[in-house]
């Protein structure tokens, strides 16, 4: 499933770029994130709790940041699996100066499997958008 959108952050691109790679910020901003531990260069181990439709479950996974081109863009890859299935996503984040801040636009692909796909796939679009919005709200805060 394709997702895309954009969000305005009241920070200059350099700061926005940095903030979106700060593991502490990411851990706090990602909805349901319970821990985010650095395990390598630009690679983190993540535990998160996610709820979708009638399901909720814990996911164990990894976050990786690649194709870095500061302060213009980087690629974020998230994958996790748990009792209710698995999720995999990757997205390209682009940073463009706008007004006194930065417009962060993202474009990506999300794939889910297992029970979570069988019971909640129709709601993924909406849920993903909601989670992304919450994420940026926290990053901006």
């Amino acid at each position: 499933m394709k997702i895309s959108g954009s969000y305005f952050l009241p920070l200059p691109p350099e700061q926005a770029y940095q903030r979106l790679q700060d593991s502490q910020v990411l851990a706090e901003a990602m909805p349901g994130c319970e821990s985010l531990d650095k395990i390598g260069e630009d690679e983190y181990r993540m535990k998160m709790k996610m709820a979708l439709a009638s399901l909720s479950g814990n996911f164990d996974g990894k976050v990786r940041i690649t194709e870095q081109s500061p302060p213009n863009s980087f690629k974020l890859m998230v994958e996790g699996s748990g009792k209710v299935g698995f999720m995999k996503g990757e997205g390209l984040l682009k940073f463009t100066p706008k007004d006194a801040g930065t417009e962060v636009s993202y474009e990506g692909d999300v794939q889910v499997g297992g029970t979570i796909a069988a019971v909640g796939q129709r709601l993924i679009d909406g849920t993903a958008k909601m989670m992304i919005k919450r994420f940026f709200d926290k990053v901006a805060a």
Partner: protein, 778 residues
Amino acid sequence: MATTTITKTEKLVGKRIRRREDPRLITGTATYVDDIKMPGMLYAAILRSPHAAAKIRSIDISKAKALKGVHAVFVGEDTKNAGAVPCGASLPGLRVPHHNVLAIDRVYLVGHPVAVVVATDRYIARDGVELIEVDYEVENAVADPEKALAPGAHAVHPQWPDNVAFTFHQEGGDVTKAFAEADVIVKQRIVSQRLIPNSMETRGVVADWHAADRTMNLYTSTQAPHLVRSLVAQILGLEENRFRVVAPEVGGGFGAKIQTYAEEILLAWISMKLQKPVKWIESRRENFLCTIHGRGHVDFYEIAAKRDGTITGIKLKIIQDLGAYFTVLTPAIPTLSVLMMPGLYRTPSISADIVGAFTNCTPTDAYRGAGRPEATHGIERMVDMVAAELKMDPAEIRLKNFVRNEEFPFPTATGLVYDSGDYSAPLKKAMEMAGYDKLRKEQVEARKQGRYMGIGLCAYGEICAFGPSPATPAGGWESATVKIEPSGQVTVLTGISPHGQGEETTFAQIVGDELGVGIDDVLVVHGDTSMVPYGIGTFGSRSTAVGGTALYFALQDLKATIKKFGEMLLESDDVTFAGGQCTCNKSGKSIGVKGIAAAAYRAMKLPPNTGPGLVATHFWEPPNFTFPFGAHLVVTEVNGETGDVSIKRYIAIDDCGNILNPLIVDGQVHGGVAQGIGQALWEQAVYDDNGQLVTGEFMDYTMPRAHMMPWIESGHTITPTPVNPLGVKGVGEAGTIGASPAVVNSVVDALSPLGVRHLDMPLTPEKLWKLISAGRNA
């Protein structure tokens, strides 16, 4: 001893008798598999693949094993020698995947069993499942049969890169000539979408092994207990006579419980391994993924006709979505569609090709109608399209092409011999009940007002009463034993395995009439292989037509013995047995079944060449299938603002031969119609491109519910079959077979002013609304 009593003359057969099964069902006192509890019983839960295609790199079961209450965890390597899921169908060149009960090195569908946890209760077992860690190497999947056949598609099984499981060709007559000489040729691609059977009770198994005497008791929610016994005993190398399969109360099957499933083999294997009784109950989500699916056809039709509407030939190419592996009948189902493709029409020439395609999906197999709904949907849609092309009324083209009454027995171009019928009668009756001509006038008015009103017809035929043994995978006969107990009460042991069809009632009616006993004096026992003679089971609208006939013949044998005892007791060789009494035609003296039973078991004196007791067994081999038929007429109106289809009238006329119990027949028709409307309007199994089942629960898969059903006006014509002495043909699948084309024809008719010629199911409001909106804006 002899007394004179009034002969019982009131017939039970043909009466609207309430089902004797119902009190226990309604009061919640029936015993299903999940109601079975045994001392020391363990519970199994199965870990299933979340991927449609992946290699298994490693499985870590250590955490699950360490969980308190977990007795054992098994993976594919452990069960390697527990055999594979059996397929009973054979076709030339068929490629049969070896489907282990647990995956060994790779998975090829979502829901593929990977490991099993056995624990002291089902909750611990499930917790254990969640502690298993599997490292998968995910591969691409293919979830669409047409895509699977395209060059370069992912191979579901690496050894067969083209994803072709089999091809099949059949032809009859001279189809080339028919098409060369046709005035009109109509072509259409028609999809019969994948459906997910949902019986009220999901599957479930309890396996109980006794090592000391090498006996296995397997309780399973099945339609065919003897078939399960033969197959699982053979797979596990056990002795069939020590292997008991019990189908306790079974809460529906619809074809999805004919199969022998991995869990039946697995649970028996676990019970032997752990020396404990083990239970597994399928969750509803597992049912969506792991019990078979139905339909899954992409059909390419071509039909040749003369200008006067005479159909001369049909060409059909079926792409059957088989899924990733086979259950017991998987590859055979589309061949039934080929047999049924001429419908009720005389069509002298046919040509059919099937391509069976592997996909990374749940296997398809028999689902209410099994191959015949697909074929009926196809021919009935095509006939409407030919009528539209020739500007003929859809009723007229049908009446013109029906096999005529004087042509029975009628050999079809597909090699069947239709037994009997009066095909125009149900259609004419439906049209009369509906006021067809008046409806067409109303439709003209409705169209003037901008309303989308449609009238849909379907004239359907069936292949039922499966069937002659040479034409059925495991034999098609049926068995019955009738015992008159010393007290005079009657016990019937039948090889069929009813699970909602009501044979505890209809069989008691047959016995009541033949032996002249009250219905309450008859007990019908089924579903326990240690009690009943070997039987084939309940599917394909066969139970009454084949099992009831076996019972009928057993009763004739028993009546002969009764008469002998009557002659001895009445000291006469001129005795008639009728109405439960043996009567001496000279003296008028008589003796009832009770008295005869007492004498037969007390055995103070026996008739010549006759042993004590009153028991008879009969195994009956049907000489042919039966071919029930009927017509549905559906009036719909499509809401132009919402795309909603509202069914204004639903008329179902069925000819299933003689009717033993009109209440039960109506119930079968109503349930069948509900499932047919479900396919026409709402139901559809949807997979995404990665082979994930998107419609995995009732939130996303629309099952028909009571409030969504129209009032069904049902009626009958009666053409008794000559195939069996009861004259019954079978009615279990009729409603489903007739309903989907009738509803779709009606909606297509409603939207024909927009230029609509064909629509693929399901006709969801979204689909119709888009079409209407586009039509308005055009």
